[in-house]
Assembly symmetry: D3
Homo-oligomer: 309 residues x 6
């Protein structure tokens, strides 16, 4: 195991190496954390929240409960100053099999309404609600690292494209599955995937043919920024990245996430204007002085005590 | 030849393997299909239309006829329910040598007009008309797979960047040629290439120096999503991809294309809103039930009979 | 040394091979060019301007003088018809260590103002002014090739993402450093980096963890379009690319840059409309005829005499 | 009183004349409707909800409770098929005195946070939350008619500009008050007022000088579309307008509101595209046939029974 | 009749007074101009085209033929250099009764399609096609003056909001009728009306209640810029305005229309950029010199001979 | 004269009545203020800057000097904390006759350039520079009140539409003159006028026919927000408005201007987001407390001493 940690990406800093205990703590044998029935929440390290999709017997398929629990969970995280970064992963054999068609069928296949217009009206409400399930990840100002193993199918791709940093294991495949069941993906993949990876030909191929994308092509296309040999190594890596982020000024980190997302959706000029308005107040944080001083004294950011945010 | 097909990308499904006959049918010895003089149209498989640039003696250079025939051709395709996917390729030695300067010179170099303003006015009309030649590919809701061999020069790059999925052979090179003849590319390359591949440094280098881009860099940069050893293998691959697409619900496939293009040009929030409005009616298709049932019964999508769209 | 030039990217044209003398001329032993104190300006070849960051003892750290000299320098370049292309590089051991915190501290850490609103007001002015330092590179219609060696830290990344073509040496690393000193990068990196490379996961990782990005990943992610073995080879390569650009019609080249930047920030439809309005006048240049004629006569663009622009 | 109703705007249809009893029912002597403490809710006519600002002793000043009760109230209304249109008015002497500075002072003047950045962070959350108080009016698809009497100050202007139809009495004045207490209006006035009335000179004058705008200028500038002699006549008029709206197809009415708001914020071309996507399902309502038939039979829309929406 | 012309708006110039013969020529006793069956086309003065809605017995209701004839008509006008300005009016008792429900019912009420998705797909095509009927007016670079008398109902409002200058007679009323037949207006009114008049309260009232708007309120709200006593006076006025426009440089006039429409849909900064790109060529017209010279010599623009455009 | 001041708009506050001496001080018998040759600058009251167009013998026609002096003048004003509000007016008989064609002819009619493209390039630079002359008014965060008398022709309309508050005398007429000299207005009128007044029909009529707009229609259309009997009364009124603005918190006033202009060019949602980012720091001003306290103590804002901004 030591080998796995040795070629750490951050060895240059050497500031954050997760312990094996911490990594092990990221599997949740006790199951979902009440009141959630599909999510297990833990805190493997200071300021780090781990959200584990936890319906392993159902391959973490996304049932009705899941769609609303994610919203509650990330709203809680967004407002919790003890959390500065999130790791998302899946319990069991695979990351997720996507939408739980059986559980969801009534909503999607037999929506209410006295005529087509009213059925459409209700479907629009449902789609909008489900879109929110992943948009909360983006609206949450704390960075979200997602660690994918095994397979990530359909709704799973919608989920991970709303996260900030994507990792996977060598044996992972991804599949934009929706077209296989007769629908255009409508909770985020078609909107975010083209802005997440740099080859529109590949995006189109994946979305139009539902073919599998394997780990190496996921890496070369930029969908994930790192591939790990196995899940344990990946969780350690995820925790290391999360640790690096948690160790830095939350003012700087969360401002960075907010402005990166704004920049994605606006022109450079608009993004710069937004940034200037943002930093005109955020630069007035004690964190700059604390961080600059630590940097000059060659101390690790980990040693700095930042006020809560 | 069998070997070429063996490592099919979709072997996981095993649903669509093009026959050699079908692939062979994609070369058009009879020449252009009347009334077209530059395009040969064929139907190598059910729901698949093949559009072949067919002026091989002129290296498929784009003459005046070509610019308007493309518009007619894709408008016909857009409205034809028998077509669900298009493959575009070039007859003869190369894909295309780009604009046919000799044939076009009068339009571009000696535009009419009594003074500079009027010449400009007329040039604007001409440029706008020529832009439409490739924009029709994008406006056509059926996915377009383009298969490039040999070389793809100048106007050829404008063409392929308006297609959805790009393939090439190992011996292909691409060239944004316009700057070599004293003009900024004005029928699509400068607008679409940066949204098609993920390296702005490379895009700029190509557009500013007119250097050649070879197949391997085309693949690694994401311009194409696959490279094939030779044209025959590529046409088989193109037909396989087309077959995969044609086998799926046209409601799902065409909705996917329309929303992917919308997403490219809008913020994620705007794209999600558009998607919700789209699917509030499109989810009410029988295709969802048919596809879901086939999926549960482990049947290939190919076995489903979808209503025409 | 000859070997370095042999596998020139443009050998297909063979039109532009920089002499060793020209390359050597790009190092500036005499130091900054008055009135500049941080920039050395030279003209290694016809129509090529070389801007060298020149505070080698300070690792080209960006002090107060630098931020305003860049604006003056690029405004001068923008208006100078003798310049058709710019190469930017750094003197000494590394490209740049980024912002000179010592010199800048008063501006950033102790801004004036009687209350928080007034401090914010003044900070906004400062940030906006510093943003302009790199936006001038983008507003300058002449293409800018940046050649990076050693390290490129913090403000250096803001600088290079505003350039058009990025090159580096094998031993270079890049670092989005700002989060390490408690602030969200506010002079361009967060706005431009996501539009410069095609992996949002990687962009987010770099910006949120401040980890180093090495030359090979810089190449595979598309941040740079070429990696060179050492600085001398890179400067020769930069000069060759610059020479290729300088040899072509300035009407075509500068129109290309302006439209590529417009396209980045607009929908394809808006970009095409802008392009049509642009070329309705720009096509009326003698450069088209001159270039077309040279092309037909198989002459190098270098032989054409273009009017000044 | 009869005279007041005689010259009804809709006498051409003659379909909806509110009874005196209905109008009288719109004043709420019983006070706020639990659980609300600042709002009295009633149902003066079928499908019509009346929301009355009800802190008359405090001149309906907007206290902390108000800001969240509005959100709850309009979310309830948005989801209630028994409501098709809303009338908003104020109990007591005036419509509203605006923000209740005493009650709100701690939030605005002494926000929490260990440093300026953290105070700013918290203020941003508060402002965003307060903006939502009026944005819910806009997000609610049922049209909102606001009836203003006496005065409408500060936050009151933010409120009414988020409503769809504005009425006032002859003795009303409006005041964009914020600049008088040292702040730029931040919950909607600066964003919506310029899109609500057609004179930017007047908007700027109002917002920069805090001068009063009287009923006649409110009418001539288009801020209100009708002025009434007194409150009783206005409430009857409001109820008549509400009745007209309630009598029509909710599919048509709510689709109209949603598309009008979309159009305000987008180009005409984008608005038309959105509209086409909207009506491709909404035209498939039985309401069209029912309404067309009634129209042909010269029956009042009031006689049609529409399915709930 | 003379009196009517005396207080001409342009008497300051005195350059263009329509003769009674010209005005009389604008009524078309001969009926529609083949191949049109719903439009009568005439040329009451040099460079002026008159398009008359001509189904007087059907109150100029918009039948199927109308929707496509408008497109053909305005495309012809757009390309015809003999036309510099258009006047649109209606033959018979009123301007138009709006959509011809009887003739259109099959399209709208019984669209084809095997399931809801396919019906929606076809409806979207139909709506988009009908939207184009009025968008051609906007895309036509020649200014369009519309002269409304009697009533302008439903589709009529969609039509006139796409015109550039609106006039009406004292006895005219306007009605956004669509909500009365159970649908949200989908061919332009909801998109253009809010950008055509300056009171959103009034726009909302009209669109949500379908109440009539009479001439005086049409004038005070800015829907029309002039009201005339009767149709004859209005036609003379329309012809006078058209004459003023026709007498000026078509380069200036058409550039003005194009840029005004662009400005409506973009920010001021984007509009200015577009304008600069436009005029960099259009200023190079002889018309500037010709017009300036005429102005200095106090000659009427009417005396200038402009080259065709 | 006293009568003129009596029915002051602000008599409700009674806080700011300009003295006759102050009003008189606004005419500049001494001529332009060096280094300006076309502008006379004075300070008629505390924090109020008066900029007078001062080439009365040339009817304040805009010559070359004017176009650059405006930029210098407003840049100075923008940075000068002693100025909180600006009044612009014209010396002599009329406000301005617009562009000084004689002085500008060489720039516009005989631009340099070896071919059409190069002439266009240079014209674009010139147009962009001239656009800046009026955009500086908008970029200056201090509100600008413009007081127009006599006539305001051509470039004058471009100027006043960039100001914040527009006043005129009873005898004023406005004219969008450009079309009369063969060009589309290119320094702001076509972009700003449609966003300044609420009738697109009127805007189009003015821009396409160059007819005069008189004071009463200027008022009813909202171009000006007030009309005065004569220039003296107007200057008093302008000074009173300016005084009202100058007496209020510069943080509130300038934030209001900046956000109003942002709102004009963005959707309501974007505007609200911008506003929240703005006020998260600006609310932390002492001005809120000072202003609130004065308001509670019924003191005039004039008595408050605000820190400089």
């Amino acid at each position: 195991v030591k080998n796995k940690f040795k070629n750490s990406f951050f060895s240059q800093h050497g500031l954050w190496l997760p312990s094996q205990a911490a990594v092990r703590a990221m599997s949740s044998p006790a199951g979902p954390s009440p009141p959630y029935t599909t999510l297990a929440i833990s805190h493997p390290a200071e300021f780090v929240t781990h959200v584990e999709l936890h319906r392993p017997k159902k391959l973490n398929a996304m049932n009705k409960a899941f769609w609303s629990e994610m919203v509650d969970c990330f709203n809680e995280i967004a407002g919790n100053p003890e959390c500065r970064v999130v790791v998302v992963s899946g319990a069991g054999k695979i990351f997720t099999a996507g939408i739980d068609l059986m559980d969801m069928a009534s909503d999607i296949l037999q929506p209410e309404g006295d005529d087509t217009a009213r059925v459409s009206w209700n479907l629009r409400k449902i789609i909008t609600k489900y879109q929110e399930t992943f948009s909360v990840i983006e609206k949450c100002p704390k960075p979200v690292v997602v660690a994918v193993h095994g397979s990530c199918i359909g709704g799973g791709v919608d989920l991970i494209t709303a996260c900030d940093i994507r990792l996977c294991t060598q044996d992972t495949w991804f599949q934009v599955k929706e077209v296989d069941i007769g629908l255009a993906a409508d909770v985020g993949t078609l909107q975010r995937l083209p802005k997440v990876i740099g080859s529109s030909s590949l995006v189109n191929e994946l979305a139009l043919t539902a073919r599998k994308l394997y780990a190496d092509e996921a890496k070369s296309s930029g969908l994930v920024s790192r591939v790990f040999t196995d899940k344990e190594a990946m969780m350690a890596g995820a925790l290391e990245i999360a640790g690096e982020i948690a160790a830095r000024s939350p003012v700087a980190v969360q401002g960075t996430k907010i402005n990166l997302i704004y920049a994605r959706d606006h022109s450079v000029a608009e993004g710069l204007d937004y940034m200037a308005n943002w930093n005109m107040s955020m630069l007035q944080t004690q964190d700059v002085m604390k961080s600059a001083q630590a940097a000059m004294e060659k101390k690790s950011p980990k040693t700095i005590v930042f006020s809560k945010l």
